[in-house]
């Protein structure tokens, strides 16, 4: 039970975050979409740009609290392979763009509204996540 309590609590906060953003502002808490479109011409007016920036600032502010109080839950003491970071980052950036979503957009927000697209996306990225781990173990 110990193992599951923190993921459940964390998931609650994530779900709460997405719920608040949707019920109050009518927006989807899809991090890849928010980050990708900050500088787009899609953000036709300043509000569209500003709310995305404020969301990201909120992420980073929370990040500082996590670093302060539960640093063991972050990557701070972990060894990260920079090549995996570059390859992984690029694939995540390109992939989430074409898929128009990620674990938050398609996973948390899409599944709960019964989106078939999100269901397909989640199954696919989970499967390929498994493959990605296998690949990175092969070359590490």
């Amino acid at each position: 039970m110990n193992n599951y309590i923190y993921p459940i609590i964390g998931g609650f906060f994530i779900g709460l975050s997405a719920s608040i953003l949707m019920i109050f502002n009518g927006k989807i808490a899809g991090i890849s979409g928010i980050a990708r479109t900050i500088f787009n011409r899609e953000c036709s007016n300043s509000y569209e740009r500003y709310w995305r920036i404020l969301f990201i600032l909120g992420l980073i502010t929370g990040g500082f609290l996590i670093m302060k109080y539960i640093p063991q839950n972050t990557s701070i003491e972990k060894i990260l392979n920079p090549i995996n970071m570059v390859i992984g980052g690029f694939l995540v950036g390109l992939g989430t763009s074409f898929a128009n979503g990620c674990t938050s957009g398609h996973g948390i927000c899409g599944l709960s509204r019964g989106s078939k697209r999100s269901f397909v996306s989640v199954i696919t990225f989970m499967l390929f996540g498994v493959i990605g781990v296998i690949l990175s173990k092969l070359w590490s």
Binding site: G15, F24, G62, N73, S75, N81, G88, V92, F98, F128
Partner: protein
């Protein structure tokens, strides 16, 4: 606008707190979750499960209230096509996630570690966004 901007900030803040408490910000934990033929720590499955309970409830509310509290309309995508972009993009994303242990939210949240590897991931991710935008002539 101020109310909506505050909600955006609050939402981002709660999101990263959730990522931290659940350990989604720990790439080793994420990779162990995806390592189904190896260590397989299933804990992170409960993150999505727990989050989905709340968003499931919130969509019931969305269907009842017809318009957001501070806004005129809901910005919900109406694309229903399951195409190569969706599947191919999800595959690439999954690969990147498994290779690095990071997805967009945890990566941006982890900028505060000031680890150069995390910065590399975030820069590469934005480069991926840039390349996509070029293919779309955005």
């Amino acid at each position: 606008m101020i109310k909506k901007l505050f909600i955006s900030f609050l939402s981002g803040f709660l999101f990263s707190i959730g990522l931290g408490i659940s350990e989604m910000t720990n790439p080793d934990k994420v990779k162990n979750f995806l390592d189904i033929f190896g260590k397989w720590e299933i804990d992170l499955a409960f993150v999505m499960g727990s989050g989905l309970i709340l968003t499931f409830i919130s969509y019931k509310i969305v269907n009842k209230i017809k318009k957001p509290i501070f806004e005129n309309t809901f910005s919900i995508p109406n694309n229903k096509k399951i195409d190569y972009k969706l599947v191919g993009g999800s595959a690439l994303f999954g690969l990147g996630w498994g290779i690095s242990g990071f997805c967009p939210g945890p990566a941006i949240t982890s900028i505060v570690t000031f680890k150069y590897e995390v910065i590399l991931f975030v820069l590469s991710m934005f480069f991926g966004f840039f390349i996509f935008n070029r293919t779309q002539n955005i």
